[in-house]
C-alpha cells in the first residue's frame, strides 16, 4: 500500500490501513517517517494508559476487563501489548491477546469494532517497551481511540520507559510479588500514578496494600534515604523527579480480582480521575512538554549525526584522535563548524 492510501485509510477508520501502518512503523520501513509526519496533527486526543508489573501479576487480564469497562462507558479502546522477544533467534511468543475476554460473553471483545488489539515484540530491547511503541500509540490515537492501553513486557526488570509514553501509569502488583527491596529497585515506587493489588482473592493483599500506602506516604527525604539503602535509581530520586512528576497527586491503591471482574470499575474510575486531575492542573501539558523535548532532541541528534556522516570527513578526524594528535573537544567543535558551513552552502 502507498503512504497516501494508508494515511487516508487510517484517518477514515479503515482498520486494515491502521494494521498495515503499524507494521510499517514497527519495522521502520522507509515510508514510516512520512506516515508519522502526516498523522501527527491528528493525535493528542487519546488518554494513554500504561500497565506495568512483574510477569504473571495479571496485567493482560486487567487490560481485557478494563477494555470491557471502558467500552461500557462508551469509549473506543486501542491496545498495544508487548511481550519479550529474543535478541538471538528474533522470535517471540505474543500471548497477551489470549486473555482478551470480558465478563459478558454475549459481547465478545475480539470482534468489537470499537476495540483494536495489537501485539508487539520487544525484540530484545530493555526498558519494557518495543522501540516504536510511542509511534504505534500515535497511530491508534490518530485513528480515533479514546483510551489506549499499553501493556509492558513485564520482565521484572526496570521498566520505567512506560512513563515516556503513557499519561497515566498503572503499576500492578499481587500478594507475594517478591521482596520489597527488589520492588523498590525496579523503580516501581517512582513511576506509578495508580497502584493495583491484583489477585486480592489470594491471601496477603492487605499486607501489600498497607506497605504500598506507607511507602507512598513518605516524604521526599525519607524516600531518598530509603533509596540509598536499596540502591534504587538514585539519580532520578535525588533530582526530585519522583515527586515532581506526581505533584500533588496521591496515587490511589486499588484492589482487584481481575479474572472475576472485581474492582475493575473502581480502577477505571481512578484512571479517569487521574486524567481529569492532570488536565485541570496542567500536569498533562507539563509531562507532554518534557516528553516532546526529549523526543525532539533525540531526533535532532540523529539528524545531526547523519549530517556529520554525510558532510564531514569524520573518519580522518577519528584517525587523528586515535593518534592523539587532536583532543575530542576540539575535534567536535571543528566537526560542528564543518556541518554548519555545509548548510550555508546549501
Amino acid at each position: 500500500m502507498k503512504v497516501e492510501e494508508l494515511v487516508e485509510g487510517l484517518l477514515s477508520g479503515n482498520r486494515r490501513a491502521l494494521a498495515r501502518a503499524i507494521t510499517y512503523v514497527e519495522n521502520d520501513y522507509p515510508e514510516s517517517k512520512e506516515i508519522m509526519k502526516r498523522i501527527f496533527t491528528k493525535t493528542g486526543k487519546a488518554h494513554i494508559v500504561g500497565l506495568t508489573g512483574f510477569p504473571g501479576v495479571g496485567k493482560s487480564t486487567l487490560v481485557s476487563k478494563l477494555t470491557e469497562e471502558f467500552r461500557k462507558r462508551g469509549k473506543k479502546v486501542g491496545i498495544v501489548a508487548i511481550d519479550p522477544g529474543s535478541p538471538f533467534t528474533g522470535g517471540a511468543l505474543l500471548g497477551d491477546r489470549l486473555r482478551l475476554d470480558g465478563m459478558d460473553s454475549r459481547k465478545p471483545l475480539w470482534t468489537d469494532p470499537g476495540i483494536f488489539f495489537r501485539s508487539m515484540s520487544s525484540r530484545g530491547r530493555a526498558g519494557g517497551l518495543a522501540a516504536k511503541t510511542g509511534d504505534v500509540v500515535r497511530l491508534l490515537d490518530a485513528f480515533g481511540f479514546d483510551v489506549i492501553l499499553v501493556e509492558t513486557v513485564g520482565a521484572g526488570q526496570s521498566e520505567v520507559d512506560i512513563i515516556e509514553v503513557a499519561d497515566t501509569s498503572v503499576v500492578v502488583m499481587m500478594p507475594e510479588t517478591g521482596d520489597e527491596i527488589q520492588i523498590n529497585k525496579a523503580g516501581i515506587l517512582e513511576i506509578g500514578d495508580i497502584y493495583v493489588v491484583n489477585k486480592a482473592d489470594l491471601g496477603g493483599a492487605e499486607k501489600v496494600e498497607r506497605w504500598l500506602k506507607y511507602m507512598l506516604s513518605l516524604d521526599e527525604e525519607s524516600v531518598q534515604m530509603l533509596s540509598q539503602m536499596t540502591h534504587a535509581d538514585e539519580a532520578r530520586v535525588a533530582s526530585g523527579e519522583f515527586f515532581e512528576r506526581r505533584k500533588g497527586w496521591n496515587p490511589p491503591v486499588v484492589k482487584t480480582v481481575a479474572d472475576k471482574g472485581e474492582g475493575i470499575a473502581e480502577l477505571a474510575d481512578a484512571i479517569e480521575e487521574h486524567f481529569k486531575y492532570m488536565k485541570e492542573t496542567g500536569l498533562i501539558e507539563k509531562r507532554r512538554r518534557e516528553r516532546m523535548k526529549r523526543e525532539l532532541f533525540e531526533i535532532v541528534t540523529d539528524d545531526i549525526i547523519k549530517l556529520v556522516k554525510e558532510k564531514t570527513n569524520y573518519r580522518d578526524v577519528i584517525e587523528k584522535l586515535v593518534r592523539n594528535e587532536i583532543d575530542p573537544y576540539t575535534a567536535a567543535e571543528r566537526i560542528v563548524e564543518e556541518v554548519l558551513k555545509s548548510g550555508e552552502k546549501g
Binding site: 482498520r15 486494515r16 528474533g90 511468543l93 491477546r97 465478545p108 488489539f117 501485539s119
Partner: protein, 140 residues
C-alpha cells in the same frame, strides 16, 4: 533488517485440547517467528479479525472437531470481509483431516494441511519457502 514473519496460531471451534497448538507456537517462536496464540474456542470471525489487526503473514488454524470444511472457509471469507487479503498470507490447517477433505480445503484457498505427526520443522520450512513464493505470484 528483514521483516519478522508474524504467525497467528488459532484454535477454532469446540474441541478442547490445545497442547499441539501450544507446542507448535513455541517451536515457531524458537525458529525466529513472532507468534500470536489465540487460546481455545475462537470463532471464525474472531480469528479473521485478529489476522487482519495483527497484520500476520501466516494464519495457522488448528482444529480437531471434524468441522474443518465448515469453519476454515469461513475464516478465509471473513479475512476478506474485514479488508484483509488471504492471497498475501499463507493459510495453514492442522488436524486429523481425511485425504479427500485435504483436496477440498486446498480448493478453498488453504495452502497446506498438516496432519498429526508432521515434524514441526517441516512446517517451518514450508513457511520460509512458500510465503515469498506466494507473495511474488500475487504481485505479478
Amino acid at each position: 533488517m528483514e521483516k519478522k514473519i508474524r504467525v497467528l496460531v488459532a484454535k477454532v471451534g469446540l474441541d478442547g485440547h490445545d497442547r499441539g497448538a501450544k507446542v507448535l507456537a513455541r517451536f515457531l517462536r524458537d525458529s525466529g517467528f513472532e507468534v500470536i496464540y489465540t487460546g481455545l474456542h475462537r470463532t471464525p470471525q474472531e480469528v479473521a479479525m485478529a489476522a487482519v489487526d495483527e497484520d500476520v503473514d501466516v494464519v495457522g488454524i488448528s482444529l480437531h472437531s471434524g468441522a474443518h470444511l465448515a469453519l476454515v472457509p469461513k475464516v478465509i471469507n471473513y479475512i476478506r470481509e474485514y479488508g484483509g487479503n488471504p492471497d498475501e498470507m499463507l493459510v495453514l490447517v492442522g488436524g486429523v483431516i481425511p485425504t479427500d477433505d485435504i483436496v477440498e480445503l486446498k480448493k478453498m484457498g488453504v495452502d497446506e494441511v498438516f496432519i498429526p505427526g508432521t515434524p514441526i520443522s517441516e512446517i517451518v520450512e514450508f513457511i520460509k519457502i512458500k510465503l515469498p513464493e506466494k507473495r511474488k505470484k500475487n504481485e505479478s
